[in-house]
């Protein structure tokens, strides 16, 4: 295996490194999660084209959120995807290639804030119920609905926090989970970010 690695020409090494591919065969795949914001025309066609592109070209799509921006003719999509450098740059280029795409920002690696909203129904009564409420308090969650044996909670935060909360609740008997998917925004004082 290593023999083949040694026979790579300098030019082949350059290509592999640029693609973010392992230089040695069998090396770890260098796939990373990326959060990409896409501004598109506010129309159903634009939205479908973006999502369709991911499936047509076999790219990963971990989550998508979409909503209108300060300009009612523009929607912002926040896309969470994975891939090595070559794949991510392909994704960004294919997004830009769509006629309805106005701008594409890869916020990964910039200074940004991200949030996800999660609503969760937990079956709990008696002592268990106060335990659930306590955890909810720690996570700064809110109770949005109560019945004698079900608590419906809402929590907002970075995806890691939401993951942790959902995992804790598993032991208490989750009835239903609804997650919004991530939205991300670059911090103030930065211009729109590096447009690609």
């Amino acid at each position: 295996m290593n023999e083949e690695a040694i026979t790579l020409t300098p030019q082949q090494l350059i290509r592999k490194r640029a693609a973010g591919e392992p230089v040695e065969p069998g090396g770890p795949p260098q796939s990373q999660q990326h959060i990409i914001n896409v501004l598109v025309e506010n129309s159903m066609g634009a939205l479908i084209r973006v999502v369709n592109m991911f499936s047509a070209r076999g790219f990963n799509l971990d989550s998508v959120t979409v909503g209108v921006t300060e300009d009612s003719t523009i929607s912002r999509m926040c896309i969470v995807t994975r891939g090595n450098d070559r794949v991510i740059s392909q994704i960004i280029r294919q997004l830009n290639r769509l006629v309805d795409t106005i701008a594409v920002y890869d916020v990964t690696g910039t200074d940004f804030v991200e949030r996800e909203l999660c609503m969760i129904k937990v079956r709990c009564t008696g002592a268990k119920r106060s335990e659930v409420l306590q955890i909810n308090e720690i996570f700064r969650g809110r109770v949005v609905d109560v019945t004698p044996d079900i608590l419906a909670l809402e929590i907002v935060g970075p995806t890691r926090k939401v993951d942790a909360f959902v995992n804790l609740m598993r032991t208490h008997g989750i009835e239903e989970v609804a997650r919004s998917g991530r939205v991300a925004m670059q911090r103030a004082l930065q211009p729109a970010g590096s447009e690609i």
Partner: protein
């Protein structure tokens, strides 16, 4: 317009100037959506429309009879033929091709042609009828979700919701099809929108904030390119169809001559650089010249010009051009570093980059490199047996001699296509038209029909030759009668090997001679009778000594198409060949040397 013009001059003339003036008289007038649509086509100077009527577009056809717009409508006999005709029209003239069909089956019949145009960057606009807006989604008669079906095979697509929007959308559609990396655009026209009354308006400006044509060519990039070229000792130009789309063939040729760099082209690049030039290596890739692939594998610099490193060019990407730094000039950013990493990229128009680079670079002294290439040429030349049998390569050489290279050649898919690419020695842009990306059998004949109409509409005087296999010819043979009806004097060649030859070749090489369902002997028609029944002249040759006579006779017929059937040897193979997925230095060069020639 002069009576004859050159293809290059036509391709560089903005299409809409005449059109825009023609429609001034209608501006502000009330009329039906269907009539607005006709004037919108006039505004784009769509000179020929390939179409087929049906319920959803019956009002358009009705207004066509009443208004008599200034374009020619050609009734094709299958909508797929219509889309390929529009492609042939576009490729031969450099202008946008136009198709008009009805909803449902009319629209779905265009899908293959749209996909073909998408893969091969051909500017066409396809107008599809649609059921009335209130019925959309109800599974109405002849309803298809045309936007959904064509979404991933179009550069963009539209549903028109109001007659007033028609001129803007038509204008955007032509703009998108033509500019940047060209491609197909679909415009879906609901019947009630065509029937409703609206006002004709025309605004020449394009307002599309999400769309612009890139121009990443700056001092820094240019100087890096100069350094890379200066440093190289074994430079090579790899030229693709984008060069022809950019009308840059002449500039490229001058560039290559000035630098003294050899040139190899992809299938779609054929014609961008004269193949009779000493610097031309011909085509590279799967069925390319052995020496061209050798040059790739030994080059230390490859300048890729309007090309996309298709897998039929590269074979196994990891082992392609292992020593070469890459400069990539390409209008579509998504093609840059997609298959092969570009050390330096110009995401810009090919012609403009070459024009800016040309004065900055000095001629290269690469005698040793050129000598190496000459040795490779001598080592493994392109050959075929001369044994008294009728072989397709011989026919092609005779056709080349007759046309002198001054003909537009449309080829089909399969062995016939590869032999044509190897033997016809193209010397001018827009003279080689084929289905490369999608590989659509049945492309050649309708594309030639469209090319014939295009040349006629723009006063370009050139013979149109359609090369076909016996398999592919049958896939759109219905369009013969259309060419006959309009007196388009196509020279239609059928290389009849009574086989799906290219599949047969793979079966022989890789599937132990199990010729599963590729023998056409029992299902081929009598092509001469078929041609005559379609009101065409027809000739046949079965022996090499009949070829000249058939060609001479065919070239004398100028009022209708002539079909030439050549009964060629069925076992003939296309060599050399890089087996699919193998590296470019593993070429099979003959049946008797299946051990690879490294």
């Amino acid at each position: 317009m002069s009576s004859t013009s050159t293809a290059a001059a036509v391709a560089e003339t903005p299409q809409r100037l005449r059109g825009r003036d023609a429609v001034q008289q209608y501006i502000g007038k009330k009329m039906s959506g269907a009539e607005i649509f006709l004037h919108a086509l006039e505004a784009e100077d769509a000179r020929v429309v390939f179409g087929h009527p049906g319920g959803a577009v019956i009002h358009v056809y009705d207004e066509m009879a009443r208004v008599k717009p200034n374009f020619q409508h050609v009734l094709v006999r299958h909508e797929q033929g219509g889309t390929h005709a529009a492609e042939g029209y576009a490729k031969a003239t450099g202008q946008v091709g136009t198709v008009l069909v009805t909803s449902g089956p009319g629209a779905t019949n265009t899908v293959t042609g749209i996909a073909d145009a998408f893969m091969d960057s051909v500017p066409i606009v396809v107008f599809t009828g649609q059921v009335p807006m209130p019925l959309i989604g109800n599974d109405a008669f002849q309803e298809t979700d045309t936007l959904g079906v064509t979404r991933s095979i179009t550069k963009h697509n539209y549903l028109v919701r109001s007659p007033d929007d028609i001129p803007r959308i038509v204008h955007e559609a032509y703009h998108l099809a033509r500019t940047g990396r060209p491609g197909p655009v679909v415009v879906d026209l609901p019947k009630d929108v065509l029937m409703a009354e609206g006002v004709f308006q025309f605004d020449d400006e394009i307002h599309m904030r999400g769309y612009s044509v890139p121009d990443e060519c700056d001092e820094i990039r240019l100087h890096r390119a100069v350094r890379m070229i200066e440093k190289s000792q074994r430079p090579l130009l790899y030229v693709g169809g984008g060069t022809i789309n950019s009308n840059a063939a002449e500039v490229l040729t001058e560039f290559a001559h000035h630098l003294n760099i050899p040139v190899t082209t992809s299938l779609h690049g054929l014609g961008a650089f004269p193949e009779d030039d000493p610097l031309s290596l011909g085509m590279l890739g799967m069925h390319g010249m052995w020496w061209a692939n050798q040059a790739v594998q030994h080059a230390d610099l490859i300048i890729a010009v309007g090309a996309r490193f298709d897998d039929r060019v590269t074979g196994m990407v990891d082992r392609w051009a292992p020593h070469a730094a890459i400069i990539h000039i390409e209008i579509d950013k998504s093609c840059i570093s997609k298959n092969i990493y570009a050390d330096l990229a110009f995401n810009a128009d090919v012609k403009s980059v070459l024009e800016q680079l040309r004065p900055l670079v000095k001629p290269k002294k690469v005698k040793r490199w050129l000598n190496n290439i000459q040795d490779w040429r001598d080592e493994c030349p392109l050959t075929y047996a001369d044994d008294g049998e009728l072989r397709p390569q011989y026919v092609l050489e005779k056709l080349r001699a007759k046309s002198g290279g001054d003909a537009v050649v449309c080829t089909d898919v399969g062995q016939n296509q590869m032999w044509a690419a190897q033997y016809l020695k193209f010397t001018q842009p827009r003279t080689h038209i084929t289905s490369g990306g999608l590989g659509t059998m049945g492309f050649s004949l309708p594309a030639a029909l469209g090319a014939g109409f295009g040349l006629r509409a723009y006063g370009i005087d050139k013979t149109v030759i359609s090369i076909n296999g016996d398999g592919g010819f049958m896939m759109n043979a219905q369009e013969l009668a259309v060419a006959a009806a309009h007196g388009i004097p196509l020279k239609v060649v059928i290389m009849n090997n009574n086989f799906l030859g290219m599949v047969r070749q793979w079966q022989e090489l890789f599937h132990e001679n199990r010729f599963s369902h590729t023998d056409l002997t029992d299902t081929n028609p009598d092509f001469v009778q078929l041609a005559r029944a379609s009101r065409c002249a027809a000739l046949r040759a079965e022996r090499p000594d009949q070829v000249d006579e058939v060609i001479e006779k065919a070239w004398k017929i100028n009022d209708r198409p002539v079909v030439m059937e050549f009964r060629v040897v069925k076992e003939e193979m296309v060599f050399p060949m890089v087996p699919a997925g193998k590296s470019s230095d593993e070429m099979i060069t003959s049946r008797h040397a299946p051990e690879t020639f490294v």
